[in-house]
């Protein structure tokens, strides 16, 4: 794992506090979507298909901060839409950092260099750019349906690193991904100097344009096993090693849909970041009125059957780490050995 010690400590102490308080369901990462507008239309994305008046809408900074305060997670992830198109992104990040939230700004990085040169952000241990890259140049440009985006993203990463920012990458894998090319991609990201990488299989959004390349469970296990079974020591991942083991089929986890609650222009999304089955006005209402038993693999819900996405299973992995000696032992062993 490549997380700074202060961040690991913040997450660990938060989880322990939740357990000591006897909370059965607690959130870990707030997924804050201040807008749905995007400057790309990726084949596997089901997040941005809305009429114009919805795409024009922005949450206010005050709404965003109220959501962060209300759910109280130590980590806030800002996806979207493209967050760098949000007019108040600089102020939003500044305010969240002032609250000592660990902020991940998830961006395609098309606008990153421009925004950095405009002086919108200040480096901080609490703040990281999480740049969307689904592989090397050919694979990434294919995934985002536009040529040249990989090169723009790499330029943005270099500029951010040069200015002293924390930079991570996030990669979504689909059926047909080449393990060898992904390993080359990991090497390239390490050469660039990113802090760590995040990987996850894509979710089969019913609204995504490309419905043919979502990974089913066994194929996902096979793919991630081939990618990660002999990891290089220099690869650093910005996520739980137990989650990576889960992707390889070495851990049996159940989904924690309340672990990464999602707030956007419609309210608190039920039940998770991926499924849209309605909205609650408050986080408390979301927790208390969502029929959680209807979600996750064991529920038999077809929409959850093949889902292995980080937003549902990374909180499970973290909870497992701090909820059992075996989980703690496995996490330490994977972290120390660098093997999954």
């Amino acid at each position: 794992m490549s997380l700074p010690v202060s961040q690991m400590w913040a997450v660990a102490s938060y989880v322990v506090r939740q357990k000591l308080a006897g909370r059965k369901r607690y959130p870990l990462v707030l997924m804050l979507e201040p807008l749905f507008r995007c400057n790309l239309a990726c084949a596997g994305c089901g997040k941005i298909q809305y009429p114009a008046q919805i795409l024009r809408k922005n949450l206010t900074v005050e709404q965003c901060l109220a959501a962060a305060d209300e759910c109280g997670t130590p980590v806030v992830s800002i996806p979207g839409g493209e967050p760098l198109m949000y007019p108040d992104i600089g102020r939003l990040v500044k305010e969240l950092v002032a609250r000592r939230k660990y902020v991940y700004l998830c961006t395609n990085a098309i606008l990153l260099k421009e925004k950095l040169e405009a002086g919108l952000f200040t480096p901080s241990k609490y703040f990281s750019f999480s740049v969307h890259l689904d592989g090397l140049q050919d694979e990434h440009d294919q995934a985002v349906c536009r040529d040249g985006v990989y090169v723009q993203a790499v330029e943005g990463i270099k500029e951010a690193l040069r200015r002293g920012f924390r930079v991570t990458t996030n990669s979504t894998l689909f059926d047909g991904a080449s393990p060898l090319r992904m390993r080359e991609f990991f090497d390239e990201m390490m050469d660039l100097g990113v802090e760590g990488m995040m990987i996850s299989p894509g979710y089969s959004y019913s609204k995504a344009p490309d419905q043919e390349h979502f990974l089913r469970t066994q194929r996902a296990h096979d793919l991630f096993s081939r990618i990660l079974s002999n990891p290089k020591r220099r690869w650093r991942f910005n996520q739980s090693p137990l989650f990576l083991q889960f992707l390889m089929g070495k851990q049996e986890f159940e989904c924690t849909p309340w672990g990464n609650p999602t707030y956007n222009v419609f309210g608190w999304q039920r039940p998770c970041y991926l499924l849209q089955e309605g909205y609650a006005a408050t986080f408390q209402e979301l927790l208390e009125t969502t029929r959680w038993e209807n979600y996750g693999k064991r529920s038999g819900n077809e929409k959850c059957r093949d889902c292995m996405v980080h937003c549902g299973y990374e909180p499970t992995a973290v909870n497992h780490t701090f909820g059992s000696w075996r989980g703690f032992r496995d996490t330490v062993a994977a972290t120390v050995s660098g093997r999954f």
Binding site: F36, R37, C38, N39, L40, A41, A43, G46, I48, Q49, Y50, P51, A52, Q53, I54, L55, R56, K57, G81, M85, C145, R146, D147, G148, S206, K207, P209, D210, Q211, F266, G267, G278, Y279
Partner: protein, 122 residues
């Protein structure tokens, strides 16, 4: 793909064979604007983003075509719902990208810049 392409333009007849609750569910899943025809004869057009059939007074919520809202309207006020807006999840931009890539391959020429999808939003 969803059944959005079929729903676009649909004007359902609420009756013994099709309940309002069923139409509300279709409208909730639809990624385009719809028009609510109310019992008083008035109409409201917008994006229906939420519904709760289990609430003491079942309701839908929508943002109108100007983005104002959310407006909350109870089921009992609704006569029917027309699927008047374009289905934004119909996947046309992706289909266009694939066609452009295939055409470029067939012509055996660099396709740089020829197949980029239009940005979403305004």
């Amino acid at each position: 793909m969803t059944d959005g392409a079929i729903l676009e333009g649909w004007i359902p007849e609420i009756g013994p064979r099709l309940s309002l609750a069923e139409v509300v569910e279709k409208a909730f899943d639809y990624r385009g604007n719809v028009t609510l025809i109310l019992n008083d004869g008035s109409e409201t057009e917008g994006y229906l983003f939420n519904r709760n059939a289990d609430a003491p007074v079942p309701f839908v919520q929508l943002f109108d075509v100007n983005g104002a809202g959310p407006h909350t309207i109870s089921y009992r006020e609704i006569r029917t719902i027309r699927f008047t807006g374009r289905d934004t999840a119909a996947g046309n931009s992706y289909a266009a990208w694939l066609r452009a890539k295939e055409a470029a391959k067939a012509a055996d020429r660099p396709e740089k810049g020829s197949g980029s999808t239009p940005p979403r939003g305004v």
